[in-house]
Symmetry: C2
Subunit: 416 residues, 2 copies
Amino acid sequence: MKTAFLLTGNELMSGDIVDSNSAEMAQMLFEIGLSVDTKVTVGDDRAALHAYIDSLSREHNILIVNGGLGPTQDDLTAEILAQTADLPIEEHPVARAHLEAWCERRGVALSPANLKQAMLPAGCRIIPNDRGSAVGFEIDLHGCRVMTTPGVPSELRLMMRHHILPTLEADASICFDKLQCFGLGESRIQQMVHDHMPNWPVSMDLGFRAGMPLLEVKLRSKGEPELHQHTLAKLHHLLGEHVVCEGSGTLPNTLVALLAERGEQITFAESCTGGRMASEITSVPGSSAVFGAGFVTYSNAMKCDMLGVNAATLAQYGAVSEHVVLEMVNGAMGRSGAQWGVAVSGIAGPDGGSDDKPVGTIWIAWGKQHAMKTRRLRLRMDRSMFQRMVCAMSLDLIRRDLLGLEAEPSYFGRYL
Amino acid sequence: MKTAFLLTGNELMSGDIVDSNSAEMAQMLFEIGLSVDTKVTVGDDRAALHAYIDSLSREHNILIVNGGLGPTQDDLTAEILAQTADLPIEEHPVARAHLEAWCERRGVALSPANLKQAMLPAGCRIIPNDRGSAVGFEIDLHGCRVMTTPGVPSELRLMMRHHILPTLEADASICFDKLQCFGLGESRIQQMVHDHMPNWPVSMDLGFRAGMPLLEVKLRSKGEPELHQHTLAKLHHLLGEHVVCEGSGTLPNTLVALLAERGEQITFAESCTGGRMASEITSVPGSSAVFGAGFVTYSNAMKCDMLGVNAATLAQYGAVSEHVVLEMVNGAMGRSGAQWGVAVSGIAGPDGGSDDKPVGTIWIAWGKQHAMKTRRLRLRMDRSMFQRMVCAMSLDLIRRDLLGLEAEPSYFGRYL
């Protein structure tokens, strides 16, 4: 089954938009066992659209066209597809009814511009759009299923999930699973699989998607559900404590769920991360159950005033020191009443380093009341990556403690 | 001058990577007056690479190939390009010298895998890579300049900027400028230009790139530097107070610069944004000059404890109220000593709304000591967008006050 994408829109050619639609579509197809071999992107250009619709449909079984379904003159997909397939354009009753309902919900009149969105190649099959005005449609061209989809990501996502993938799932025997991992890179995981799962079944596809900070590990197979489950369990066991969650998920989500289960709270005393930890936790709906307060103490004076850090400690050891992060975390936990806490103080750069404490140095204190741990690390990366990484690592350290993992995480070794 | 991109890599086809390289390359070319008309993306596949190198080079004057220059067997660009151009592959002395120097800097031996990166089509011109191991190269094929570039974004950026764009800048008469705007959409700006600059010169290209929260407005023209400057000045004047900065820049950057100029500080008392404002300000290097402390008071109890909000005020008016945000901001400014402050309290959703205060309701207090303003707004958007938008708007409100803009921003009207 050969599959291609044709993406259209001047904003894609000018670089004014980064195309994430095609990546999302490809991932969805991957999960049901289909892969994409060609993507072509052209502007709102009649000749280019015609030429590529023609050639890609001759060489593939499935062609998904994305974009160009809107109400403006630039939106050429229906017109050019009809022309290439030698079909007349006519008003499609289902599309018209969709537009009328769409306008009615918004309390607006159906405009001639919108009505253009009902003018489709004769005999096409409508692909419903559950959110926007532009329906998709499908025709057969040179033996290829040509399907058109809207450029708006949220509309595309719903259309793919509910109205396109189900028509493609000829093969129900595909098994697909994901594990979200922290602290392991792709090559390290490949080495671990090589070393510890030497009889890796050839029918099991192992894939990776580098998110930051999580690495998504993907397992896909066909027609062997038992072997799939067995392999997944072994892989999960092998990656062990590095697996943050199965399926889709994030570090903050996992942490909020773990804390909520226990009815416990967390707080953060942040210097170099400047509020990022608090911001990430509160991005999770329902985080108020586990988070009441965060302290962004960027200056030394505020470390004293807000957290009760001793001025003498600061003077003696400096802000980036074990003593100071310990006083910070104790102050934050005392003031907020949270059972869990993290404090960080470091040099995010690009300036502010010294021989003794170069840019990238961080002291971190984390853990549960009366069981705090501390560590000095050095993260050699730019300011933005440093702040993201310190934040992710802090959340992961608490996750590990919540799970009762005693050993020091292997990734500390990378940041000495 | 017809330009095309050929992007290669299995990770682009599987959707494991979102391609941002081509957007960045297109933007760079746009700035020097070139536009791209076709982008083709294929996996690490000999037949597909050969077919598209052949066809795209026949139809274009410039073809930039991105990816496939690495040391592994998957990296096929040099081999297939040589084959398509009917050239032998041979070790290139400049590429070899580059690899030797690269390995020496890292204190590692030159491996056979790396040496593959010096095996290039005979007679090609080397395009230096200032950072990574893979040099680019250029050959002429069917009258088309075919240039190969590395897939690593940071390496690509340097190579484009320093070693490819200068060879393309045949036309030095291109003028290009950008304005970063907040609070105006693309269609609104087009309407303003239509209404207030009726004699818009046809030779001036107006473009847009929707960032969130800023909209980038781009002006490009050719051979008329005076008209360009005149049009830019009029456009800047028309967009007026909505222009956050010229060129590249962000709201936090602009705010840090404005505060630093005056030697003043800002603080944040954040409930529903959960630390995001503090995090954005501290993403700016040097922000310690203008920011000492932020207060993330997510629970009611901590609004009292950390900021001195009166429990009676909370009981009488609720956390999302004018009285509470005023007490919050006054508390934060009193405790931090900052001259400027923002407090926000709202319902980010998806739950927690009531008839009286539905999801999306926000009270905000902002301004300078003894000159605080307050406002209730409603932002109908999902939790993540709500938090981003409240944060951006807060920073913009302070920016406006710092500039002495008295009038209420027009975008308030959108959020009633």
